[in-house]
């Protein structure tokens, strides 16, 4: 029924001595908005290019709707793609750019024009059809690239950092429209980004890439609230969660000499662990751990305190900015039921009872 299931099995890719992807597996469901999130060089764009057919893996299989397309050329995959730099045809008008996929599809001329206008209207550039890409602003070029991608009804909609060249305000606006568009088109979208906020807001599910590996696959909620490893925990969140060395003994967790009882028993024999807590789950508590204020950052709607707990930097989000005196002592405590625990060696998440 629903089309656009993408299944990657054991994809391995190297460029010279650089291993871009280390046997990754991924199962993307039909009509899903799926984000590939990771820093640059993590393999997310390479993965997208292989799904597009612009690159081929050295090992592994790519299936779309159960059909092996590992080595199929892009033309045989029924896909549309929006490139980071838009890749518009510079010598063609917006109209010709949008019409190009249809012309290549040998669609009758009489049907092309209304389809072009429809696609252009969807992204609000119907008034710019006679212009050339060079005469458009960045945002308009981006819309033109989107229109070219949606003018045909593709099985897969691939987006390679489509918002990264837009200014901040336009990016937020386009992000919303992109999500609406994808829902309206009812098509599988695979979206590459290094911006976790984009991934969190747009994606139904996402894969977190790091150094050619997928660290975690899940909904934004899962990735944010139950990071699978220290690496994910250190990447997700702005700023990411605080990671502090701690000792675990049964359900007693000791941080910097301060003990607390966990509400749910960790499934771990105990010993040295790493504790994670988000900056918004740190609070000031007169009975808490003494820290030294290093710097207070004003974020407008909230403020961020940089505190030193011994040698460990702890970031804490507070409601309002108060410059405070640097060097001043701030006693803090952690919201005990929001604490994450990770194995110190492997970095794996330690599940708590009921997880």
């Amino acid at each position: 029924m629903a089309q656009g299931r993408v299944h990657l099995k054991g994809i391995y890719k190297r460029f010279g001595n650089f291993i871009a992807l280390k046997h990754i597996d991924l199962d993307i469901q039909p009509v899903e908005f799926f984000a590939l999130l990771g820093p640059s060089g993590s393999g997310k764009t390479t993965t997208l290019r292989m799904i597009a057919g612009l690159d081929t893996p050295d090992e592994g299989v790519i299936e779309v709707d159960g059909e092996d397309v590992t080595f199929a050329p892009p033309a045989d995959r029924d896909i549309a793609m929006v490139f980071q730099n838009y890749a518009l045809y510079p010598h063609m008008t917006v109209r010709d750019n949008i019409a190009f996929p249809l012309k290549m599809d040998k669609m009758p001329k009489a049907e092309i024009e209304p389809a072009v206008v429809r696609a252009a209207e969807r992204v609000d550039i119907a008034h710019l059809l006679h212009r050339r890409p060079g005469q458009l602003s960045g945002g308009q070029q981006q819309r033109c690239a989107l229109a070219r991608a949606i003018v045909r009804q593709p099985k897969l909609f691939l987006l390679d950092e489509p918002l990264s060249n837009l200014d901040a305000q336009l990016r937020l606006q386009t992000r919303v429209e992109l999500k609406k568009l994808q829902r309206a088109l009812n098509v599988t979208a695979i979206y590459v980004t290094h911006d976790q906020e984009e991934a969190m807001t747009l994606a139904d599910r996402m894969a977190v890439f790091l150094e050619g590996d997928i660290l975690q696959v899940g909904t934004p909620d899962e990735v944010f609230n139950r990071p699978a490893s220290i690496a994910v925990a250190a990447f997700i969140g702005s700023p990411p969660m605080n990671l502090l060395p701690a000792t675990l003994d049964g359900d007693r967790l000791t941080v910097s000499g301060h003990s607390m009882t966990l509400p749910r028993a960790p499934q771990h024999p105990g010993g040295e662990v790493t504790m994670g807590v988000r900056p918004s789950h740190v609070r000031i508590d007169p009975q808490g751990l003494p820290t030294r204020l290093y710097l207070s950052e004003n974020l407008g709607e909230s403020a961020l305190l940089n505190l030193y707990l011994g040698d460990e930097l702890v970031k804490m989000r507070v409601a309002s900015f108060n410059a405070g005196a640097e060097g001043e002592t701030v006693p803090i405590a952690f919201d005990i039921d929001t604490i994450h625990l990770f194995e110190s060696g492997s970095g794996r998440r330690i599940p708590l009872a009921g997880e």
């Binding site: 597009a52 010598h91 063609m92």
Partner: protein, 300 residues
């Protein structure tokens, strides 16, 4: 220097003084000979019949109009220019597209391509005349016979002579087109081609819809430069055939030269040269005009 107000007058005068020597040299070496050429074309200056010298008005041009050798030379100039430029563009483009497919070592082809260009045309003409096309000894002649074809007198028979001089010019200048196209191809954006592949354009469609239009400026500049040079080609033909046999490869430039410096009829020779000048300027003007507006691609 743009005129803005009185305050810049002194500066302008100073700038003029500084450029004056260069301007003067330019004037003396280009403008003056041109003016002299035009003036001579309205005179009768014939060293064989000095007693006839004097102002001739448009007599030389009237004579030219009725001169079948002139029209023959004009026709040859057209054939020579059109076919050699067309061949340069097509072959140059083909080679550039081929070399682009080579992942490494393109620099070797760039260097090899420079060689014919840096040779003096006279050397090229002689080289082809003696080494390549000479009967019995020439490499081309040898090859033709070895392949079992009948021997062709490449420079001695009318049609082969014309073909030969076109081939020589094409051989020398195709590398120029090749280098320009190679540089242009290398600068084309890669993601546009990826977009085209995703939009289901096959290799031929990508060439036709993407490469050709994007190379249009390069193609036009190559055509302009080569047509201007081709119209006034001289040395290679002079060295290879001398315009012969008879007048079989005598393009306008050669006819003007022979009239002036062999027959010593300077007045008529000047008129022939002026007519070539007008044609060259007119053709370049048209080409430059075509370069500016956005028109549909006319093909290579």
């Amino acid at each position: 220097m743009r005129r803005e107000d009185g305050a810049h007058q002194g500066e302008r005068r100073f700038a003029l003084m500084l450029t004056a020597p260069g301007m003067l040299a330019l004037l003396l070496t280009t403008t003056f000979p041109l003016a002299y050429l035009v003036w001579s074309s309205f005179q009768t200056i014939n060293l064989a019949m000095p007693f006839m010298d004097g102002f001739a008005g448009v007599q030389n041009y009237v004579e030219m109009w009725h001169d079948s050798r002139y029209w023959h030379a004009m026709g040859l100039t057209g054939i020579y220019t059109f076919s050699s430029v067309a061949l340069q563009v097509v072959i140059g483009m083909g080679l550039a597209l081929l070399v682009m497919q080579i992942p490494a070592g393109q620099w070797i082809f760039r260097i090899v391509a420079i060689l014919p260009i840096v040779l003096a045309p006279v050397v090229v003409g002689l080289f082809w005349r003696t080494l390549m096309l000479a009967p019995n000894f020439g490499m081309v002649d040898f090859l033709v016979q070895w392949l079992g074809f009948e021997q062709i007198n490449w420079l001695g028979a009318p049609t082969p002579a014309l073909i030969s001089v076109i081939a020589i010019h094409t051989w020398q200048w195709t590398p120029f087109a090749f280098l320009v196209f190679l540089a242009s191809l290398a600068s084309l954006p890669g993601d546009v081609y990826e977009a085209a592949r995703i939009d289901r354009a096959n290799a031929l469609q990508r060439f036709w819809h993407i490469t050709l239009p994007l190379l249009r400026p390069a193609i036009i500049i190559v055509i302009i430069m080569r047509v201007m040079i081709s119209l006034s080609a001289f040395a290679a033909i002079f060295a290879a055939t001398g315009g012969g046999p008879g007048t079989a490869s005598e393009i306008l430039n050669l006819y003007a030269f022979k009239t002036s410096f062999v027959e010593l009829n300077f007045g008529y020779g000047s008129a022939l040269a002026v007519s070539l000048l007008i044609i060259t300027m007119a053709v370049s003007g048209v080409l430059f005009y075509l370069r500016t507006p956005r028109r549909r691609e006319a093909g290579a």
